[in-house]
Protein backbone atom coordinates (compact mmCIF):
# COMPACT_ATOMS: atom_id res chain seq x y z
CA UNK A 1 0.00 0.00 0.00
CA UNK A 2 1.38 3.34 -0.94
CA UNK A 3 1.14 5.66 1.99
CA UNK A 4 0.88 9.25 0.83
CA UNK A 5 3.18 11.89 2.22
CA UNK A 6 0.28 13.39 4.07
CA UNK A 7 -3.02 12.13 5.44
CA UNK A 8 -5.96 12.43 3.04
CA UNK A 9 -7.44 15.86 2.75
CA UNK A 10 -11.03 16.51 3.49
CA UNK A 11 -12.01 18.91 0.77
CA UNK A 12 -15.64 18.82 -0.15
CA UNK A 13 -16.42 20.09 -3.58
CA UNK A 14 -19.76 21.81 -3.47
CA UNK A 15 -21.10 23.15 -6.72
CA UNK A 16 -21.01 26.65 -5.26
CA UNK A 17 -17.29 26.77 -4.50
CA UNK A 18 -16.47 24.96 -7.73
CA UNK A 19 -17.97 27.82 -9.70
CA UNK A 20 -16.32 30.37 -7.41
CA UNK A 21 -12.95 28.74 -7.96
CA UNK A 22 -13.31 28.70 -11.74
CA UNK A 23 -14.33 32.35 -11.78
CA UNK A 24 -11.48 33.21 -9.42
CA UNK A 25 -8.83 31.49 -11.57
CA UNK A 26 -10.01 33.26 -14.72
CA UNK A 27 -10.45 36.64 -13.04
CA UNK A 28 -6.98 36.55 -11.48
CA UNK A 29 -5.45 35.51 -14.80
CA UNK A 30 -7.25 38.31 -16.62
CA UNK A 31 -6.02 40.83 -14.08
CA UNK A 32 -2.46 39.49 -14.33
CA UNK A 33 -2.61 39.79 -18.13
CA UNK A 34 -2.54 43.56 -17.60
CA UNK A 35 0.39 43.35 -15.17
CA UNK A 36 3.11 44.29 -17.72
CA UNK A 37 1.47 47.74 -18.00
CA UNK A 38 2.12 48.48 -14.34
CA UNK A 39 5.07 46.32 -13.31
CA UNK A 40 8.71 47.28 -13.88
CA UNK A 41 11.31 44.84 -15.24
CA UNK A 42 12.16 43.44 -11.82
CA UNK A 43 8.49 42.82 -11.06
CA UNK A 44 8.02 41.05 -14.37
CA UNK A 45 11.10 38.89 -13.80
CA UNK A 46 9.73 37.79 -10.44
CA UNK A 47 6.27 37.30 -11.93
CA UNK A 48 7.71 35.17 -14.73
CA UNK A 49 9.59 33.01 -12.23
CA UNK A 50 6.49 32.58 -10.05
CA UNK A 51 4.42 31.51 -13.07
CA UNK A 52 7.01 29.03 -14.39
CA UNK A 53 7.45 27.53 -10.92
CA UNK A 54 3.69 27.45 -10.45
CA UNK A 55 3.30 25.34 -13.60
CA UNK A 56 5.91 22.88 -12.28
CA UNK A 57 4.41 22.85 -8.79
CA UNK A 58 0.83 22.29 -10.00
CA UNK A 59 2.04 19.30 -11.99
CA UNK A 60 4.06 17.91 -9.09
CA UNK A 61 1.09 18.35 -6.75
CA UNK A 62 -1.18 16.50 -9.17
CA UNK A 63 1.33 13.67 -9.37
CA UNK A 64 2.24 13.46 -5.69
CA UNK A 65 -0.53 15.07 -3.73
CA UNK A 66 -3.45 13.62 -5.63
CA UNK A 67 -2.03 10.45 -7.19
CA UNK A 68 0.66 9.46 -4.67
CA UNK A 69 3.54 9.24 -7.15
CA UNK A 70 6.55 11.02 -5.63
CA UNK A 71 8.71 12.13 -8.54
CA UNK A 72 12.32 13.31 -8.56
CA UNK A 73 12.26 13.49 -12.35
CA UNK A 74 10.94 17.01 -12.91
CA UNK A 75 14.33 18.17 -14.21
CA UNK A 76 14.20 15.55 -16.95
CA UNK A 77 11.04 17.04 -18.42
CA UNK A 78 12.13 20.65 -17.93
CA UNK A 79 15.34 19.94 -19.86
CA UNK A 80 13.57 17.92 -22.52
CA UNK A 81 11.11 20.75 -23.14
CA UNK A 82 13.90 23.29 -23.54
CA UNK A 83 15.88 21.14 -25.97
CA UNK A 84 12.81 20.25 -28.05
CA UNK A 85 11.78 23.91 -28.24
CA UNK A 86 15.28 24.98 -29.32
CA UNK A 87 15.33 22.30 -32.01
CA UNK A 88 11.96 23.41 -33.36
CA UNK A 89 12.74 27.11 -33.23
CA UNK A 90 16.23 26.80 -34.73
CA UNK A 91 15.67 24.13 -37.35
CA UNK A 92 11.97 23.90 -38.15
CA UNK A 93 11.27 27.62 -38.09
CA UNK A 94 8.10 27.18 -36.05
CA UNK A 95 6.56 30.00 -34.07
CA UNK A 96 6.93 30.04 -30.30
CA UNK A 97 3.33 29.03 -29.41
CA UNK A 98 3.50 25.93 -31.59
CA UNK A 99 7.00 25.10 -30.33
CA UNK A 100 5.75 25.31 -26.74
CA UNK A 101 2.79 23.07 -27.53
CA UNK A 102 5.01 20.46 -29.22
CA UNK A 103 7.47 20.60 -26.31
CA UNK A 104 4.60 19.85 -23.96
CA UNK A 105 3.53 16.96 -26.19
CA UNK A 106 7.12 15.67 -26.18
CA UNK A 107 7.11 15.69 -22.39
CA UNK A 108 3.89 13.70 -22.33
CA UNK A 109 5.29 11.32 -24.95
CA UNK A 110 8.44 10.64 -22.91
CA UNK A 111 6.24 10.00 -19.90
CA UNK A 112 4.30 7.49 -21.99
CA UNK A 113 7.48 5.78 -23.18
CA UNK A 114 9.00 5.33 -19.73
CA UNK A 115 5.72 4.59 -17.92
CA UNK A 116 5.76 0.81 -18.57
CA UNK A 117 9.09 0.58 -16.74
CA UNK A 118 8.46 3.17 -14.02
CA UNK A 119 4.95 2.03 -13.12
CA UNK A 120 6.20 -1.41 -12.27
CA UNK A 121 7.72 0.37 -9.34
CA UNK A 122 5.54 1.15 -6.40
CA UNK A 123 6.15 3.84 -3.85
CA UNK A 124 9.80 4.48 -3.12
CA UNK A 125 10.96 2.59 -6.15
CA UNK A 126 9.03 4.85 -8.50
CA UNK A 127 10.83 7.82 -6.95
CA UNK A 128 14.21 6.20 -7.43
CA UNK A 129 13.28 5.28 -11.00
CA UNK A 130 12.45 8.90 -11.85
CA UNK A 131 15.77 10.01 -10.37
CA UNK A 132 17.63 7.47 -12.51
CA UNK A 133 15.65 8.49 -15.59
CA UNK A 134 16.58 12.15 -15.08
CA UNK A 135 20.26 11.24 -14.73
CA UNK A 136 20.13 8.96 -17.78
CA UNK A 137 18.59 11.62 -20.01
CA UNK A 138 21.02 14.26 -18.73
CA UNK A 139 24.02 12.04 -19.44
CA UNK A 140 22.67 11.28 -22.91
CA UNK A 141 22.31 14.97 -23.71
CA UNK A 142 25.80 15.71 -22.37
CA UNK A 143 27.34 12.94 -24.45
CA UNK A 144 25.47 13.04 -27.75
CA UNK A 145 27.03 15.58 -30.12
CA UNK A 146 23.68 16.57 -31.68
CA UNK A 147 22.67 18.29 -28.44
CA UNK A 148 25.79 20.44 -28.37
CA UNK A 149 27.41 18.45 -25.55
CA UNK A 150 28.32 20.28 -22.37
CA UNK A 151 28.26 23.68 -24.11
CA UNK A 152 24.62 23.28 -25.15
CA UNK A 153 22.61 25.16 -27.75
CA UNK A 154 22.04 28.81 -28.59
CA UNK A 155 18.74 30.22 -29.81
CA UNK A 156 19.28 31.73 -33.25
CA UNK A 157 16.58 34.36 -33.01
CA UNK A 158 16.29 36.87 -30.19
CA UNK A 159 14.01 35.84 -27.33
CA UNK A 160 10.69 37.75 -27.24
CA UNK A 161 10.55 40.83 -25.00
CA UNK A 162 9.84 40.29 -21.32
CA UNK A 163 6.13 41.32 -21.37
CA UNK A 164 5.47 38.71 -24.09
CA UNK A 165 7.36 36.05 -22.13
CA UNK A 166 5.28 36.96 -19.11
CA UNK A 167 2.10 36.43 -21.12
CA UNK A 168 3.29 33.04 -22.34
CA UNK A 169 4.16 32.03 -18.76
CA UNK A 170 0.76 33.24 -17.60
CA UNK A 171 -0.93 31.17 -20.29
CA UNK A 172 0.95 28.00 -19.28
CA UNK A 173 0.21 28.61 -15.60
CA UNK A 174 -3.47 29.23 -16.43
CA UNK A 175 -3.62 25.97 -18.39
CA UNK A 176 -1.94 24.23 -15.45
CA UNK A 177 -4.40 25.69 -12.95
CA UNK A 178 -7.45 24.90 -15.08
CA UNK A 179 -6.23 21.35 -15.71
CA UNK A 180 -5.68 20.73 -12.04
CA UNK A 181 -9.01 22.39 -11.34
CA UNK A 182 -10.76 20.09 -13.80
CA UNK A 183 -9.12 16.95 -12.42
CA UNK A 184 -9.41 17.73 -8.73
CA UNK A 185 -12.92 19.17 -8.66
CA UNK A 186 -14.52 16.35 -10.57
CA UNK A 187 -15.06 12.63 -10.34
CA UNK A 188 -11.45 12.26 -11.50
CA UNK A 189 -10.19 13.47 -8.12
CA UNK A 190 -11.87 10.57 -6.33
CA UNK A 191 -10.25 8.14 -8.78
CA UNK A 192 -6.82 9.71 -8.31
CA UNK A 193 -7.06 9.62 -4.54
CA UNK A 194 -8.34 6.08 -4.49
CA UNK A 195 -5.13 5.09 -6.26
CA UNK A 196 -3.03 7.17 -3.91
CA UNK A 197 -4.58 5.63 -0.83
CA UNK A 198 -4.80 2.00 -1.94
CA UNK A 199 -3.99 1.09 -5.50
CA UNK A 200 -4.97 -2.57 -5.16
CA UNK A 201 -8.33 -1.84 -3.60
CA UNK A 202 -9.01 0.79 -6.27
CA UNK A 203 -8.24 -1.75 -8.99
CA UNK A 204 -10.73 -4.17 -7.45
CA UNK A 205 -13.58 -1.71 -7.61
CA UNK A 206 -12.97 -1.04 -11.29
CA UNK A 207 -10.45 1.82 -11.38
CA UNK A 208 -7.70 1.21 -13.90
CA UNK A 209 -4.63 2.37 -11.97
CA UNK A 210 -2.25 2.18 -14.91
CA UNK A 211 -4.28 4.49 -17.14
CA UNK A 212 -5.03 6.95 -14.38
CA UNK A 213 -1.42 7.12 -13.22
CA UNK A 214 -0.24 7.49 -16.79
CA UNK A 215 -2.67 10.35 -17.39
CA UNK A 216 -1.48 12.19 -14.28
CA UNK A 217 2.19 11.52 -15.11
CA UNK A 218 1.75 12.67 -18.73
CA UNK A 219 -0.08 15.84 -17.66
CA UNK A 220 2.55 16.75 -15.07
CA UNK A 221 5.32 16.01 -17.58
CA UNK A 222 3.70 18.11 -20.30
CA UNK A 223 3.43 21.05 -17.90
CA UNK A 224 7.06 20.61 -16.87
CA UNK A 225 8.24 20.49 -20.47
CA UNK A 226 6.23 23.56 -21.49
CA UNK A 227 7.60 25.48 -18.52
CA UNK A 228 11.13 24.29 -19.29
CA UNK A 229 10.77 25.27 -22.95
CA UNK A 230 9.71 28.78 -22.02
CA UNK A 231 12.48 29.09 -19.44
CA UNK A 232 15.03 28.00 -22.07
CA UNK A 233 13.71 30.51 -24.61
CA UNK A 234 13.95 33.27 -22.02
CA UNK A 235 17.59 32.35 -21.35
CA UNK A 236 18.38 32.29 -25.09
CA UNK A 237 21.09 29.65 -24.54
CA UNK A 238 20.81 26.31 -22.78
CA UNK A 239 23.30 23.77 -21.49
CA UNK A 240 22.57 20.36 -19.97
CA UNK A 241 23.89 21.00 -16.47
CA UNK A 242 21.49 23.89 -15.96
CA UNK A 243 18.42 22.69 -17.82
CA UNK A 244 18.65 19.13 -16.44
CA UNK A 245 19.81 20.26 -13.00
CA UNK A 246 18.36 18.33 -10.08
CA UNK A 247 17.56 21.78 -8.71
CA UNK A 248 14.35 21.82 -10.81
CA UNK A 249 13.14 18.69 -9.05
CA UNK A 250 14.19 20.08 -5.67
CA UNK A 251 12.32 23.31 -6.40
CA UNK A 252 9.13 21.57 -7.51
CA UNK A 253 8.96 19.24 -4.54
CA UNK A 254 10.03 21.79 -1.93
CA UNK A 255 7.46 24.32 -3.14
CA UNK A 256 4.62 21.82 -2.94
CA UNK A 257 5.73 20.30 0.37
CA UNK A 258 6.16 23.73 1.94
CA UNK A 259 2.86 25.00 0.59
CA UNK A 260 0.81 21.90 1.31
CA UNK A 261 0.87 18.66 -0.61
CA UNK A 262 -2.48 17.54 -1.97
CA UNK A 263 -4.07 20.90 -1.23
CA UNK A 264 -5.48 23.15 -3.92
CA UNK A 265 -3.73 26.27 -2.61
CA UNK A 266 -0.52 24.43 -1.71
CA UNK A 267 1.45 25.17 -4.90
CA UNK A 268 0.80 28.91 -5.10
CA UNK A 269 1.55 29.43 -1.41
CA UNK A 270 4.71 27.30 -1.66
CA UNK A 271 5.88 29.02 -4.85
CA UNK A 272 5.38 32.45 -3.31
CA UNK A 273 7.29 31.40 -0.20
CA UNK A 274 10.19 29.82 -2.08
CA UNK A 275 10.54 32.70 -4.56
CA UNK A 276 10.44 35.24 -1.72
CA UNK A 277 13.05 33.25 0.21
CA UNK A 278 15.19 33.03 -2.93
CA UNK A 279 15.02 36.79 -3.39
CA UNK A 280 15.89 37.41 0.25
CA UNK A 281 18.93 35.12 0.02
CA UNK A 282 19.82 35.87 -3.61
CA UNK A 283 23.43 36.68 -2.65
CA UNK A 284 23.91 33.41 -0.77
CA UNK A 285 22.83 30.59 -3.12
CA UNK A 286 24.35 27.77 -1.07
CA UNK A 287 22.87 29.02 2.19
CA UNK A 288 19.56 29.42 0.38
CA UNK A 289 19.41 25.76 -0.66
CA UNK A 290 20.65 24.52 2.70
CA UNK A 291 18.00 26.61 4.48
CA UNK A 292 15.36 25.22 2.10
CA UNK A 293 16.47 21.75 3.19
CA UNK A 294 16.09 22.66 6.87
CA UNK A 295 12.63 24.11 6.23
CA UNK A 296 11.64 20.94 4.39
CA UNK A 297 12.70 18.75 7.30
CA UNK A 298 10.76 20.90 9.76
CA UNK A 299 7.67 20.92 7.50
CA UNK A 300 7.79 17.14 6.99
CA UNK A 301 8.05 16.61 10.73
CA UNK A 302 5.65 19.16 12.14
CA UNK A 303 3.35 20.30 9.34
CA UNK A 304 2.78 17.43 6.93
CA UNK A 305 0.17 19.49 5.12
CA UNK A 306 2.45 22.47 4.70
CA UNK A 307 1.76 26.11 5.37
CA UNK A 308 -1.81 25.90 4.07
CA UNK A 309 -2.56 22.96 6.34
CA UNK A 310 -0.94 24.79 9.24
CA UNK A 311 -3.01 27.90 8.59
CA UNK A 312 -6.19 25.84 8.45
CA UNK A 313 -5.34 24.16 11.71
CA UNK A 314 -4.67 27.49 13.40
CA UNK A 315 -7.90 28.97 12.07
CA UNK A 316 -9.79 25.84 13.07
CA UNK A 317 -8.31 25.96 16.56
CA UNK A 318 -9.04 29.64 17.06
Amino acid sequence: MTQALAPPAIERATSCNVITEAILIIAVSAALWLAPAVLDDYGLQIGFRVLVYLSLAEGWNLLTGYTGLVSLGTSCFVGLGAYVAFGLLNHAGLGLPLALAISAAAGAALAGIVAPALFRLRGLYFTVGTLALAELVRLLVVNLPMFGGATGLVLQEDPPPLPDLFHYALTIALIASLTIFATTRSRASVILRSIRDDEDAAAQVGVRPYRVKLAAFALASALGSAAGALQGVKLGAIEPYGMFSLQWSIDALSMVLIGGVGLRLGPIVGVSFVVALGEALADYPEAHIAITGVILIVILRFAPRGLVGLARRLIGAA
Partner: protein, 292 residues
Protein backbone atom coordinates in the same frame (compact mmCIF):
# COMPACT_ATOMS: atom_id res chain seq x y z
CA UNK B 1 42.36 0.27 -31.34
CA UNK B 2 44.18 0.40 -28.01
CA UNK B 3 46.69 -2.27 -27.13
CA UNK B 4 45.25 -5.47 -25.70
CA UNK B 5 47.12 -5.05 -22.44
CA UNK B 6 45.60 -1.60 -21.99
CA UNK B 7 42.12 -3.00 -22.57
CA UNK B 8 42.75 -5.78 -20.06
CA UNK B 9 44.14 -3.30 -17.53
CA UNK B 10 41.10 -1.06 -17.88
CA UNK B 11 38.70 -3.95 -17.42
CA UNK B 12 40.57 -5.25 -14.37
CA UNK B 13 40.56 -1.72 -12.94
CA UNK B 14 36.82 -1.67 -13.46
CA UNK B 15 36.41 -4.94 -11.60
CA UNK B 16 38.51 -3.68 -8.71
CA UNK B 17 36.66 -0.37 -8.47
CA UNK B 18 33.44 -2.36 -8.64
CA UNK B 19 34.40 -3.84 -5.27
CA UNK B 20 34.33 -0.33 -3.75
CA UNK B 21 30.97 0.30 -5.42
CA UNK B 22 29.77 -2.93 -3.82
CA UNK B 23 30.73 -1.60 -0.37
CA UNK B 24 28.90 1.69 -0.84
CA UNK B 25 25.88 -0.14 -2.27
CA UNK B 26 25.87 -2.49 0.70
CA UNK B 27 25.22 0.47 3.00
CA UNK B 28 22.26 1.50 0.88
CA UNK B 29 20.96 -2.05 0.58
CA UNK B 30 20.84 -2.94 4.27
CA UNK B 31 19.11 0.34 5.13
CA UNK B 32 16.59 -0.30 2.36
CA UNK B 33 16.04 -3.85 3.52
CA UNK B 34 15.66 -3.14 7.23
CA UNK B 35 14.09 0.32 7.24
CA UNK B 36 12.29 0.34 3.86
CA UNK B 37 14.14 3.59 3.30
CA UNK B 38 15.86 4.66 0.11
CA UNK B 39 18.52 6.78 1.75
CA UNK B 40 18.80 9.62 -0.74
CA UNK B 41 21.56 11.14 1.41
CA UNK B 42 23.77 8.12 0.80
CA UNK B 43 25.86 9.94 -1.82
CA UNK B 44 26.28 12.95 0.44
CA UNK B 45 27.37 10.69 3.34
CA UNK B 46 29.90 9.12 0.99
CA UNK B 47 31.33 12.55 0.14
CA UNK B 48 31.32 13.41 3.84
CA UNK B 49 33.43 10.30 4.45
CA UNK B 50 35.90 11.53 1.86
CA UNK B 51 36.09 14.96 3.54
CA UNK B 52 36.57 13.41 6.99
CA UNK B 53 39.41 11.34 5.54
CA UNK B 54 40.90 14.35 3.75
CA UNK B 55 40.99 16.54 6.85
CA UNK B 56 41.93 13.79 9.28
CA UNK B 57 44.90 12.81 7.16
CA UNK B 58 45.76 16.48 6.62
CA UNK B 59 45.85 17.20 10.36
CA UNK B 60 47.48 14.04 11.63
CA UNK B 61 49.64 13.12 8.67
CA UNK B 62 49.06 9.40 9.23
CA UNK B 63 48.61 6.84 6.50
CA UNK B 64 45.19 7.44 4.91
CA UNK B 65 44.31 3.75 5.17
CA UNK B 66 44.60 4.03 8.96
CA UNK B 67 42.09 6.89 8.75
CA UNK B 68 39.38 4.56 7.44
CA UNK B 69 38.25 3.33 10.89
CA UNK B 70 38.04 6.95 12.00
CA UNK B 71 35.81 7.72 9.00
CA UNK B 72 33.59 4.75 9.84
CA UNK B 73 33.21 5.84 13.47
CA UNK B 74 32.60 9.48 12.55
CA UNK B 75 29.87 8.59 10.06
CA UNK B 76 28.22 6.11 12.41
CA UNK B 77 28.30 8.73 15.18
CA UNK B 78 26.62 11.23 12.88
CA UNK B 79 24.05 8.72 11.67
CA UNK B 80 22.67 7.91 15.12
CA UNK B 81 21.37 11.43 15.86
CA UNK B 82 20.03 11.65 12.29
CA UNK B 83 18.08 8.49 12.96
CA UNK B 84 17.02 9.53 16.43
CA UNK B 85 15.89 13.08 15.70
CA UNK B 86 14.93 13.07 12.03
CA UNK B 87 13.85 9.57 11.04
CA UNK B 88 12.45 7.89 14.17
CA UNK B 89 9.77 10.58 14.74
CA UNK B 90 8.47 9.93 11.22
CA UNK B 91 8.06 6.19 11.77
CA UNK B 92 4.54 5.11 10.91
CA UNK B 93 4.01 8.07 8.62
CA UNK B 94 4.85 6.13 5.45
CA UNK B 95 8.22 5.77 3.84
CA UNK B 96 7.99 8.86 1.63
CA UNK B 97 8.30 11.28 4.53
CA UNK B 98 11.54 9.62 5.69
CA UNK B 99 12.89 9.50 2.15
CA UNK B 100 12.13 13.18 1.58
CA UNK B 101 13.77 13.99 4.91
CA UNK B 102 16.96 12.23 3.81
CA UNK B 103 16.73 14.04 0.48
CA UNK B 104 16.63 17.31 2.46
CA UNK B 105 19.64 16.15 4.49
CA UNK B 106 21.49 15.50 1.25
CA UNK B 107 20.87 18.98 -0.17
CA UNK B 108 21.83 20.51 3.18
CA UNK B 109 25.07 18.52 3.34
CA UNK B 110 26.01 19.27 -0.26
CA UNK B 111 25.63 23.00 0.24
CA UNK B 112 27.29 22.97 3.65
CA UNK B 113 30.26 21.25 1.97
CA UNK B 114 30.50 24.13 -0.50
CA UNK B 115 30.26 26.72 2.27
CA UNK B 116 32.72 24.96 4.58
CA UNK B 117 35.21 23.39 2.19
CA UNK B 118 34.64 25.41 -1.06
CA UNK B 119 33.58 23.84 -4.34
CA UNK B 120 37.19 22.80 -5.14
CA UNK B 121 37.90 19.30 -6.35
CA UNK B 122 40.13 17.42 -3.92
CA UNK B 123 41.66 14.04 -3.39
CA UNK B 124 43.19 12.28 -0.40
CA UNK B 125 46.93 12.22 -1.00
CA UNK B 126 48.42 8.79 -0.60
CA UNK B 127 52.06 8.31 -1.52
CA UNK B 128 51.78 4.87 -3.09
CA UNK B 129 48.36 5.37 -4.73
CA UNK B 130 49.57 5.46 -8.30
CA UNK B 131 52.26 2.84 -7.83
CA UNK B 132 51.51 0.36 -10.63
CA UNK B 133 50.73 -3.21 -9.69
CA UNK B 134 51.97 -5.53 -12.42
CA UNK B 135 50.36 -8.89 -13.17
CA UNK B 136 51.85 -10.07 -16.43
CA UNK B 137 50.63 -7.65 -19.12
CA UNK B 138 48.05 -6.12 -16.79
CA UNK B 139 48.92 -3.02 -14.84
CA UNK B 140 46.58 -1.38 -12.33
CA UNK B 141 47.19 1.37 -9.75
CA UNK B 142 47.96 -0.18 -6.37
CA UNK B 143 45.21 1.83 -4.62
CA UNK B 144 42.56 0.13 -6.77
CA UNK B 145 43.70 -3.27 -5.51
CA UNK B 146 43.92 -2.04 -1.92
CA UNK B 147 40.44 -0.57 -2.15
CA UNK B 148 39.10 -3.81 -3.57
CA UNK B 149 40.64 -5.94 -0.83
CA UNK B 150 39.41 -3.67 1.95
CA UNK B 151 35.92 -3.48 0.44
CA UNK B 152 35.69 -7.23 -0.07
CA UNK B 153 36.86 -7.86 3.50
CA UNK B 154 34.30 -5.43 4.93
CA UNK B 155 31.48 -6.90 2.84
CA UNK B 156 32.44 -10.35 4.09
CA UNK B 157 32.48 -9.03 7.65
CA UNK B 158 28.98 -7.59 7.26
CA UNK B 159 27.86 -10.86 5.71
CA UNK B 160 29.10 -12.75 8.76
CA UNK B 161 27.54 -10.17 11.06
CA UNK B 162 24.16 -10.59 9.38
CA UNK B 163 24.23 -14.36 9.00
CA UNK B 164 26.06 -15.56 12.13
CA UNK B 165 25.40 -13.25 15.07
CA UNK B 166 22.48 -12.58 17.39
CA UNK B 167 22.32 -9.02 16.08
CA UNK B 168 22.19 -10.39 12.54
CA UNK B 169 19.27 -12.59 13.50
CA UNK B 170 17.41 -9.59 14.90
CA UNK B 171 18.29 -7.66 11.77
CA UNK B 172 16.96 -10.33 9.46
CA UNK B 173 13.80 -10.64 11.53
CA UNK B 174 13.24 -6.87 11.47
CA UNK B 175 13.72 -6.79 7.72
CA UNK B 176 11.32 -9.66 7.10
CA UNK B 177 8.50 -8.42 9.31
CA UNK B 178 9.09 -5.61 11.81
CA UNK B 179 5.81 -6.14 13.67
CA UNK B 180 6.29 -9.86 14.11
CA UNK B 181 9.89 -9.27 15.17
CA UNK B 182 8.80 -6.72 17.75
CA UNK B 183 6.16 -9.09 19.10
CA UNK B 184 8.79 -11.73 19.87
CA UNK B 185 10.95 -9.24 21.71
CA UNK B 186 13.27 -7.81 19.08
CA UNK B 187 14.06 -4.16 19.75
CA UNK B 188 13.31 -3.05 16.20
CA UNK B 189 14.13 0.59 16.90
CA UNK B 190 17.61 -0.37 18.08
CA UNK B 191 18.14 -2.64 15.08
CA UNK B 192 17.12 0.16 12.73
CA UNK B 193 19.34 2.68 14.50
CA UNK B 194 22.38 0.42 14.31
CA UNK B 195 21.61 -0.59 10.74
CA UNK B 196 21.39 3.04 9.73
CA UNK B 197 24.73 3.72 11.43
CA UNK B 198 26.27 0.71 9.70
CA UNK B 199 24.94 1.92 6.36
CA UNK B 200 26.45 5.36 6.90
CA UNK B 201 29.76 3.80 7.91
CA UNK B 202 29.83 1.75 4.69
CA UNK B 203 29.14 4.91 2.69
CA UNK B 204 31.87 6.78 4.55
CA UNK B 205 34.56 4.13 4.12
CA UNK B 206 33.61 3.76 0.46
CA UNK B 207 33.88 7.54 0.15
CA UNK B 208 37.29 7.50 1.80
CA UNK B 209 38.54 4.89 -0.66
CA UNK B 210 37.03 6.80 -3.58
CA UNK B 211 38.70 9.95 -2.29
CA UNK B 212 42.06 8.15 -2.41
CA UNK B 213 41.56 6.60 -5.84
CA UNK B 214 39.87 9.58 -7.52
CA UNK B 215 38.95 13.17 -6.93
CA UNK B 216 35.81 14.35 -5.22
CA UNK B 217 33.89 17.60 -4.83
CA UNK B 218 30.78 18.63 -2.87
CA UNK B 219 28.52 17.53 -5.73
CA UNK B 220 30.14 14.11 -6.32
CA UNK B 221 27.49 12.33 -4.26
CA UNK B 222 24.69 12.18 -6.84
CA UNK B 223 26.35 9.85 -9.34
CA UNK B 224 27.57 7.55 -6.54
CA UNK B 225 24.08 7.39 -5.05
CA UNK B 226 22.65 6.36 -8.42
CA UNK B 227 25.45 3.87 -9.10
CA UNK B 228 24.88 2.36 -5.67
CA UNK B 229 21.19 2.01 -6.47
CA UNK B 230 22.08 0.30 -9.73
CA UNK B 231 24.26 -2.14 -7.78
CA UNK B 232 21.43 -2.82 -5.33
CA UNK B 233 19.16 -3.63 -8.24
CA UNK B 234 21.73 -5.86 -9.87
CA UNK B 235 22.66 -7.68 -6.70
CA UNK B 236 19.22 -8.07 -5.21
CA UNK B 237 17.85 -6.11 -2.30
CA UNK B 238 19.10 -7.05 1.12
CA UNK B 239 21.49 -9.59 -0.34
CA UNK B 240 24.85 -8.79 1.24
CA UNK B 241 27.07 -10.85 -1.04
CA UNK B 242 24.82 -9.77 -3.93
CA UNK B 243 26.04 -6.22 -3.38
CA UNK B 244 29.58 -7.42 -3.97
CA UNK B 245 28.65 -9.33 -7.12
CA UNK B 246 26.52 -6.42 -8.35
CA UNK B 247 29.30 -3.93 -7.66
CA UNK B 248 31.94 -5.92 -9.51
CA UNK B 249 29.53 -6.46 -12.41
CA UNK B 250 28.70 -2.78 -12.65
CA UNK B 251 32.38 -1.79 -12.38
CA UNK B 252 33.25 -4.15 -15.20
CA UNK B 253 30.37 -3.01 -17.42
CA UNK B 254 31.22 0.64 -16.80
CA UNK B 255 34.78 0.07 -17.93
CA UNK B 256 33.49 -1.79 -20.94
CA UNK B 257 31.12 1.08 -21.71
CA UNK B 258 33.91 3.61 -21.27
CA UNK B 259 36.19 1.63 -23.60
CA UNK B 260 33.67 1.10 -26.38
CA UNK B 261 31.61 4.31 -26.27
CA UNK B 262 33.92 6.86 -24.68
CA UNK B 263 34.62 7.93 -21.13
CA UNK B 264 31.52 10.12 -20.82
CA UNK B 265 29.37 7.02 -21.08
CA UNK B 266 30.67 5.31 -17.92
CA UNK B 267 27.94 6.56 -15.63
CA UNK B 268 25.35 6.26 -18.37
CA UNK B 269 25.95 2.51 -18.48
CA UNK B 270 24.97 2.28 -14.82
CA UNK B 271 21.73 4.23 -15.28
CA UNK B 272 20.73 2.38 -18.44
CA UNK B 273 21.39 -0.94 -16.74
CA UNK B 274 19.45 0.18 -13.69
CA UNK B 275 16.33 1.12 -15.66
CA UNK B 276 16.61 -1.94 -17.88
CA UNK B 277 16.76 -4.29 -14.90
CA UNK B 278 13.82 -2.51 -13.33
CA UNK B 279 11.83 -2.71 -16.54
CA UNK B 280 12.56 -6.31 -17.48
CA UNK B 281 13.53 -8.11 -14.30
CA UNK B 282 12.23 -6.20 -11.34
CA UNK B 283 11.95 -9.29 -9.16
CA UNK B 284 15.32 -8.90 -7.53
CA UNK B 285 14.43 -5.38 -6.55
CA UNK B 286 10.82 -5.89 -5.70
CA UNK B 287 10.60 -9.26 -4.05
CA UNK B 288 11.19 -7.76 -0.62
CA UNK B 289 10.11 -4.24 -1.45
CA UNK B 290 6.53 -5.05 -2.30
CA UNK B 291 3.95 -3.75 0.03
CA UNK B 292 6.05 -0.78 1.05
Amino acid sequence: MPALSDVASTLVSGLLLGGILGLTALGLSIVLGVMRLVNLAHGALLVLGAYVGFYFVGFTGIDPLLGLPVIALALAALAIPIYRFLLAPLAGRGSEAQMMTMFSVSIILENVFVLAFSADTRSIEIAYATYPLQLGPISVPLIYAIGFVISAALILAVHLLVSRTAFGRDLRASAADPEAAASVGVDVGRVQRLTFALGAACAGVGGGLIGMAFQFSPSSGGPYLLNSLAVVVLGGLGNVMGSFVGGVTLGFLQSLGGLTLGDGYRDLVGMALFLAVLAFRPDGFLSRGRGV
